[in-house]
Structures are given as structure tokens and as C-alpha cells.
């Protein structure tokens, strides 16, 4: 501490010291995050490199690393994307119900229940998906194959165990629902009353008001919540590993026994029995997941920033 501070050690000085400590600590924390991120990236790249240069016979089951990772990437993107497609509208609807339709007591309870869903460990979701949900889907998927089989998604043959991509996407959708809902609900609750009243004062019904005032205001939150959910779905490991029956096929057929695995689930399932180059291959797939997640986040930022004038969040 400089001597001047000691001499003028009145009420102002400790504060200034506190400010400096805080500024230092927060800058340090910020830098630390970047360092950790860079460290993770460096580790992934250096450990993945041997897999890229490795001779084809060392890549498990495939001729080269691209052919190995591609089905996994496909499975990851397909399951996460479909989970998002299911969860986002549901999250928006639940958030709207909580923020604008439900009586206060119901809204509070529902809010707690949703938050509770977020606290359930993913292993429980995995058990639930494999033991409860999967058998339940057998009859409906058979129906889908019989009646909507012309749609490639329901091409079949329907799985007899229900351990399908469809079940996985449903489990993932439930898992990402709380985070999406929480983000969207917060934004909806913060819609300025003035804007809501402005709609209603024009003779709008409640739904028209929501479409005009609440949804545009919450748009960036909807995108943000969806992207957070997508991030979680992309990286989800246990639930997928426990539910999905895997063949490695690249297919849009959601109801059959033959499915691509996902990167995270594949790492979890294969890692214990891997050694040497096989580990480098798994790490290479992890690098791909890392990059995809990074891209998703950047895309989300771009969407949120685009046409800020229309976001209504100012």
C-alpha cells in the first residue's frame, strides 16, 4: 500500500483499496476463464492430432477419423436438434402460462416443479428413459410406422424395445425444458407493463397482446434459452448412453433399432475399453463437439444481436 493511502487513511481509503482488489479479482477471473478455455482447446488439439495422422487400421471400425466421427456428429446434431424442436415451443407455452395466464398460486407451484426438473441428475433421466419411457413408446412407434411410414422419420421397422432416437429426443427435451423455460419465463415476466397496456388499450385480446408485446420482447430470451438447452442436449451423456440402441447407421429414421450414437455417449461407453490411438480418436471426437458447441453459441449471439432495433429489449 502506498504511504499516502496510509496517511489519509480516512473512510475513503479502504474503499478505494476494496475497489482495486475487486477490479483485480474480476479481471483475474475473466482472464482465468480465457486461459482455461485456451488450455482445453490446446489439450484437445494436441491429443486429437495423433488420431488424424494415424494409419487407418488403428481407427476402430472405420477407415479414417472422418468416417468414424461423422455418424457420431450426425447422431449428436439430430438428437439435440429434435429435442430443441420439441422443447422450445413447450417452454414458451409453459413460460407464457406461468407469466400471463395462471393464477399466482398455480404459477408459483408450477415454477417450482419446473425448477425441480432441472435438479434431477441425468442418470435418473437415463433410468427413466430406458425403463419407463422406452417401453411406453413401442406401441405408438408401431402406429407411426404403419400410418406415417412414408415420412422418412418414421420409416421403421419400429423397434421392439423402444430404445430409439425418438425416445432419446423425448428424454433430452424433458431435460432441457427447465433451463429453456426459466430463461424465457424471466424475460416474459419482465415485459414492461406499459407495453402490455399499450396493446390492450388498442382493443387487443390477451393473445393478441402477447403476440405483439410479450413475444417480441422475449425473442432474444427464447433464442438464448433454446441455445442453452441445445448446449446441454449436445453434451448430454448418460441419458443417451443408457437409452439408445446403437448401430452406427446414419439415418433419419427415428423409430428403428439402428441408430447413430452421439459423441458424448460414445466417449462414455468406449473410453473404459480404449487405449493408445483409440483414446486419441475419442478425444478428436470431443474436439469436434467442442467446436460445434462454440459455433452454436456464436450463432446464438449473432441471432440475438441481429436487428437489435427490433428486439424491444431497450
Amino acid at each position: 500500500m502506498p504511504p499516502t493511502t496510509e496517511k489519509t487513511g480516512t473512510r475513503g481509503a479502504p474503499l478505494r483499496l476494496g475497489d482495486r482488489v475487486f477490479a483485480g479479482a474480476s479481471t483475474g477471473a475473466g482472464v482465468l476463464i480465457l486461459v482455461i478455455l485456451a488450455g482445453v482447446a490446446a489439450f484437445l488439439v494436441s491429443e486429437a492430432w495423433p488420431a488424424v495422422t494415424a494409419p487407418s487400421e488403428e481407427i476402430p471400425g472405420e477407415d479414417n477419423i472422418v468416417l468414424y466421427i461423422w455418424p457420431l456428429l450426425f447422431g449428436t446434431l439430430l438428437s439435440a436438434f429434435l429435442a430443441l424442436v420439441i422443447a422450445t415451443p413447450l417452454a414458451v407455452a409453459i413460460a407464457l402460462f406461468i407469466s400471463h395466464y395462471a393464477p399466482r398460486s398455480v404459477a408459483t407451484i408450477l415454477g417450482y416443479v419446473i425448477d425441480l426438473l432441472a435438479a434431477v441428475p441425468s442418470i435418473i433421466y437415463g433410468l427413466w428413459g430406458a425403463q419407463v419411457l422406452a417401453p411406453q413408446t413401442v406401441d405408438p412407434t408401431q402406429w407411426l410406422e404403419d400410418n406415417l411410414g412414408f415420412i422418412p422419420l418414421f420409416d421403421g421397422p419400429a423397434s421392439a424395445t423402444g430404445r430409439t432416437m425418438l425416445t432419446v429426443t423425448l428424454v433430452l427435451a424433458v431435460m432441457i425444458l427447465p433451463i429453456c423455460t426459466a430463461v424465457v419465463r424471466e424475460a416474459f415476466l419482465q415485459t414492461p407493463r406499459l407495453h402490455e397496456e399499450a396493446s390492450l388499450a388498442l382493443g387487443a385480446t390477451r393473445w393478441e397482446m402477447i403476440r405483439m408485446s410479450v413475444l417480441p420482447f422475449g425473442r432474444s430470451a427464447i433464442v438464448g434459452g433454446a441455445m442453452l438447452g441445445l448446449g446441454r442436449a449436445l453434451g448430454e451423456t448418460m441419458a443417451v448412453a443408457m437409452v439408445l440402441s446403437v448401430s452406427g447407421d446414419v439415418t433419419f429414421d427415428l423409430i428403428s433399432q439402428a441408430n447413430p450414437s452421439t459423441i458424448a455417449a460414445n466417449v462414455a461407453l468406449s473410453f473404459p475399453e480404449s487405449s493408445g490411438t483409440e483414446i486419441n480418436v475419442l478425444i478428436a471426437s470431443g474436439l469436434v463437439l467442442f467446436i460445434v458447441t462454440l459455433l452454436v453459441n456464436m450463432a446464438a449471439r449473432a441471432v440475438i444481436n441481429r436487428r437489435r432495433d427490433f428486439s424491444g429489449a431497450n
Partner: protein, 288 residues
């Protein structure tokens, strides 16, 4: 001070004295012993007055005396406040506004409202103005594009904004200046073709130039609709209104403040020869 004020009154763009105020003008709103409570708090009570067609009626008084509350009871905006209760009688063109079978949405379509702060939607200028007509038409079959274009132009022209925005109808309403945003909100309300326009301190967030434009606009709109304006700005009431209602708030023995109507008369009379001492104190700046 009284002379200073009367100078101001006579210096208006449109000398108010020349406009006669026939009490025969049709009554748009009739308020009889209106009382509004929020929960257990009686915000304003015992308001009895009539609002006449194609006049500008100003509600003035110190803040917290219930001006906004009275205004919002005229288009049932108070319905949206949990715990708000209206008693007494409010009629709109002879119908009980709070009677059974009255649809508040229909009420608000006929009785438009402009708020203290500009509240453009996060949409284009065009979509902002087209909102009301679209919503109304949506329930009754679609509006043709050309028809909607006409309505938008008509409303923006009516709000003296058309020339400034006609080349950028597709850009965001939020990109306009504060004064333009407020005129956009007025245009949006006009587009519904309301019978009455309620304005709650529409100029309080605006600079003097923007304020003057809105005041001119009100004087023009008066030929087509009835206007009720809340203002904390006495000179504004004096400049634009035909009648003025002065409210104040009494503190009761339990320390609660209840708004009440003190005096309601022709603006010229309120500002030059008020009947009540409290009105005189307020307009001469000795109070509030």
C-alpha cells in the same frame, strides 16, 4: 401571478374565449360518484362530472391525486390491475361502462389511450400503426392490403408524422425520436378510429418542440374525436383544453391520501376565476 397567467392564456395560438362551450354538446362520459380503490386503499372518490363530445377535457392536480386512475376507469384499463375496484357509475354515451355484458375489448377499441412514455412495439412503423386495424379485422375476416395501407397513411397523416416517416415505414418504430415515437403511438391509436382518445401526460417525456407539435395535433384531432388529457402542466391545460377538472388529495386521520375532484368548469373560468380557493392556490403555483 394571476396577471401573468392570464397573459399566458390570451397568448394562446387559438384564443379560447372565442369558442363557446354549449352545455348542449352531447355527453360522452357521465361520471357519478365514481370511486376507485386499489385493494383497501381508496385512491379517488366522489368524482361527478361529464365529458362532452369534441371537446378537450383536462384533468389537472398534484401527483397522486388520482388523475390517471380516473382516466383509466374510462376505458376499463383498471380491470387489468389486480385488486382494483370501481364503484359509482360511469356511462359512455348513455351505456353503463361497467354494466353486465359490456366487452372491455370493444370498449378499448372505441376509447383509445396514449400513455406517459412512448410505447412503440418492437416492430416496424407500419406494423405499429396497422396493429389495431389488423387485430380488429382478424376477428372479422381479413383486411385487404390496399385498405390497410390507406388506414396506415391516414393515421400517420392524422398524427402529423406521415411526411417524416413515409420513406421508412419498414424501419423500426424504436428508431424514431421520443417525440416521433409519441406521435407514432397517437397514430396507432387513431388507426383504430376511436371515438375518444384518452391521454395520460402524453408530453411529460418530451422536449418543448415535440410538446408543441403534440398540442397542435390535439387541437386538430378535437374536430374528429373527444379528448381527455391528464397533465401535470397547467399551461398545457390552459393552452389546449376546453374544460378543466382540478383534483386534489386529502389526507385522512389514518394518514391515507384520497384523491377528490375539487372543481370542474370551463378552462377559461378555472384559470381566471376559479371558484375554489384550492384551485386558485394550485394554478397560481402556491401549492403542489
Amino acid at each position: 401571478m394571476a396577471t401573468g397567467l392570464s397573459t399566458h392564456v390570451t397568448a394562446r395560438r387559438r384564443p379560447r374565449r372565442t369558442r363557446t362551450l354549449p352545455d348542449l354538446a352531447p355527453v360522452v362520459f357521465g361520471l357519478a360518484r365514481l370511486q376507485v380503490s386499489y385493494g383497501r386503499h381508496r385512491a379517488v372518490r366522489d368524482v361527478t362530472m361529464t365529458v362532452h363530445e369534441r371537446e378537450i377535457t383536462a384533468l389537472i392536480g398534484p401527483s397522486g391525486c388520482g388523475k390517471s386512475t380516473v382516466l383509466r376507469s374510462l376505458n376499463r384499463m383498471n380491470d387489468l390491475v389486480p385488486g382494483a375496484r370501481v364503484s359509482g357509475r360511469v356511462t359512455y354515451r348513455g351505456h353503463d361502462l361497467y354494466g353486465p355484458g359490456v366487452d372491455p375489448i370493444e370498449v378499448r377499441r372505441r376509447i383509445g389511450m396514449v400513455f406517459q412514455r412512448p410505447t412503440p412495439f418492437a416492430k416496424s412503423i407500419y406494423d405499429n400503426v396497422a396493429y389495431g386495424p389488423r387485430a380488429a379485422a382478424g376477428r372479422r375476416g381479413r383486411l385487404r392490403k390496399a385498405e390497410l395501407d390507406d388506414r396506415v397513411e391516414e393515421a400517420l397523416t392524422g398524427a402529423a408524422l406521415w411526411d417524416e416517416v413515409k420513406d421508412k415505414l419498414k424501419s423500426s418504430g424504436l428508431a424514431l425520436s421520443g417525440g416521433q415515437q409519441q406521435r407514432l403511438c397517437i397514430a396507432r391509436a387513431i388507426a383504430v378510429r376511436p371515438d375518444v382518445m384518452l391521454m395520460d401526460e402524453p408530453c411529460s417525456a418530451l422536449d418543448p418542440v415535440a410538446t408543441a407539435k403534440i398540442e397542435d395535433l390535439m387541437l386538430r384531432l378535437r374536430h374528429e374525436m373527444t379528448i381527455v388529457i391528464v397533465t401535470h402542466h397547467m399551461h398545457q391545460a390552459a393552452r389546449v383544453s376546453d374544460r378543466t377538472a382540478f383534483f386534489t388529495a386529502d389526507t385522512d386521520s389514518e394518514g391515507e391520501r384520497h384523491g377528490r375532484l375539487v372543481e370542474y368548469d370551463a378552462t377559461e373560468k378555472i384559470f381566471n376565476r376559479p371558484a375554489d380557493r384550492r384551485t386558485e392556490d394550485y394554478i397560481s403555483g402556491r401549492f403542489g
